[in-house]
């Protein structure tokens, strides 16, 4: 559903993304792995319209990205950003309601249908106790859950996760990713997530793209990519691999292990 024919992106003469092309299919969970500075976030920024590529040809549901207005795109793609800073003390329920903004007419209040969606997400990710709290008083992980909730409330066919579980404890990482996985299976949502935790990626992603210096080194089924030698080359570190029936888990080899 997202057809990237070509992306080139450079700032001040430094090439960040080079001749990237990939076809993301509908109803799949994609993971992007790569070292720091390999262009993962930039890639999502360009797909979501936050940054303009130097040169690009991207189709989202068969329509070129450049032809989408901001408000049209908001009904297609929701993002959970890696970093965000909320200055004013909005209440959690205010912020969750903003997730329906793309569907709302100016000067009108939300419909019952909107509140149903909001209530469902609140239950799914356990935000009940926070609703009246001010966002500025929450911890980093709690804040991330609220923003995650806001993105789910947006009910878009495409969801981008930029290290969206980096501040979450294991319980909530798995709760949220399972929820996303369920949407992928039941509602054919397309998800692209940037991960640093390979084992989370291993559990939830259907396919993985391995990025290095703005290029896709390899891509394919999650287990195949995690088992390939490329992982060691890209991250410049040895890996021990543990295979179970369904998954491959990888751990870095350090110090004595490397002998």
């Amino acid at each position: 559903m997202i057809d990237v024919k070509k992306i080139n992106y450079s700032i001040d003469g430094t090439q960040i993304l080079e001749d990237l092309s990939f076809r993301f299919k509908k109803g799949k969970f994609y993971g992007i792995l790569g070292p720091n500075g390999s262009g993962k976030t930039t890639f999502l920024d360009i797909l979501s319209g936050y940054k303009n590529a130097t040169e690009s040809e991207i189709y989202i549901e068969n329509k070129e990205l450049k032809e989408y207005s901001h408000s049209m795109l908001a009904k297609k793609i929701a993002i959970v950003p890696q970093k965000f800073d909320i200055v004013f003390p909005f209440s959690v329920s205010d912020i969750l309601e903003m997730g329906r903004y793309p569907y709302k007419k100016k000067f009108f209040s939300l419909q019952k249908k909107d509140y149903d969606i909001i209530d469902r997400v609140i239950k799914e990710i356990g935000l009940e106790e926070f609703l009246d709290k001010e966002i500025t008083t929450l911890s980093g992980g709690e804040e991330q859950r609220v923003i995650f909730g806001k993105a789910l409330i947006q009910t878009t066919p495409i969801l981008f996760l930029d290290e969206s579980t980096s501040n979450l404890d294991p319980y909530y990482s798995h709760t949220l990713l399972s929820l996303v996985k369920k949407r992928v299976e039941e509602e054919q949502t397309t998800v692209i997530g940037v991960f640093h935790d390979f084992n989370l990626a291993s559990l939830y992603c259907d396919e993985i793209l391995l990025l290095e210096k703005g290029k896709i080194v390899t891509s394919g089924k999650t287990q195949d990519v995690l088992n390939s030698n490329k992982l060691g080359e890209v991250f410049n570190i040895g890996w021990q691999k543990y295979k179970t029936k369904k998954n491959t888990f990888v751990f870095p080899k350090l110090g004595d292990d490397q002998k």
Partner: protein
């Protein structure tokens, strides 16, 4: 009330009775315009303050953050020193407005890169331009010799001697500003979630920032060039209301429009009625506003977080 005592009954009669009533001139041509001007200015400055804080994501912003006040002051001083009269009795106002707009243009140019607007560079631009025009103003004061008194009086901000002319101009821009800000209040909420979240929800932050900054700066520039610099209202009223009404800009913009007017109107009446001399109201707002604000702020600052 006021320097010339007029009983309430006569006031009402003269409003009803038209031109023939006693003291008609004082009430109709002096006091009423002054009261209305003070309400309108308070309302405009408070709304603009709220918008500046929301757009620049900075709780410390106020209508003068972009250096508009310095530009307007410099323009006014220039008009006084050079004795510019090409625009008739409104020359000082018009020249100061032109310089305020000049400031705004330069600051917005300084703060935009590749059609994107960065709040931090906008604020920095405002500081730079503000410093430049403040220095210019000092130089003009130095040149002005005995004219320095009229410059200082202009700068202090006062509602004395306002006519129906000012009231009608201010009402017109107030209506425009109020409708405009109400329309964008919800987008202002979304902006507060940060750049990426805002884009993801379908708004274009740079575009919204630009139009809101331009409109609120023009409104502030009109306010400053008609009544001089009235400090603190634009900073305090939005904060005060945020403590009481919460953070939703849709409610706050209406609150600021009403309470900004009420507070300013009350302040000016205090100046007019209670104090023996007609002290410029700008002095009073800052003199009373600062300690009052400090007080609430200390109380509300629990946990060390700016709220």
């Amino acid at each position: 009330m006021g320097y010339i005592k007029i009983p309430l009954k006569e006031v009402l009669e003269s409003i009803k009775g038209g031109e023939g009533a006693p003291n008609w001139y004082i009430i109709h041509e002096v006091r009423l315009p002054r009261i209305l001007t003070s309400i309108l200015i308070g309302s405009i400055l408070s709304m603009c303050g709220l918008v500046f804080q929301g757009v620049l994501l900075n709780p410390l912003a106020d209508p003068y953050t972009l250096g508009i006040s310095s530009g307007a002051s410099f323009g006014a001083a220039l008009a006084i020193v050079l004795n510019i009269t090409i625009f008739g009795i409104f020359s000082t106002h018009i020249v100061s407005f032109i310089f305020a707009i000049l400031c705004l243009t330069v600051v917005i140019k300084m703060g935009s890169f590749e059609r994107k607007m960065n709040p931090t560079s906008i604020i920095l631009g405002g500081i730079i331009i503000g410093a430049f025009f403040s220095a210019g103003l000092s130089f003009l004061k130095y040149l002005a010799d005995e004219g320095v008194g009229s410059i200082i009086f202009w700068l202090l901000g006062s509602f004395t001697g306002k006519s129906w002319m000012e009231v009608s101009i201010l009402s017109a821009i107030w209506v425009f500003g109020f409708v405009f800000f109400c329309y964008y209040a919800e987008d202002l909420n979304i902006l507060a979630l940060g750049e990426k979240n805002a884009i993801s929800l379908g708004i274009n932050p740079s575009k919204i920032r630009r139009i809101l900054l331009v409109v609120s700066s023009i409104l502030s520039a009109v306010a400053v060039s008609t009544c001089g610099i009235i400090g603190f209202v634009g900073l305090v009223v939005p904060h005060l209301l945020r403590f009481i009404m919460g953070t939703d800009n849709k409610k706050l913009i209406i609150g600021c429009a009403i309470w900004g007017g009420v507070i300013m109107g009350a302040a000016d009446n205090v100046v007019r009625v209670v104090l023996p001399n007609d002290i410029p109201v700008g002095v009073i707002t800052s003199l009373l506003g600062a300690p009052f604000f400090a007080l609430i702020f200390r109380k509300k600052m629990g946990g060390g977080k700016l709220r």
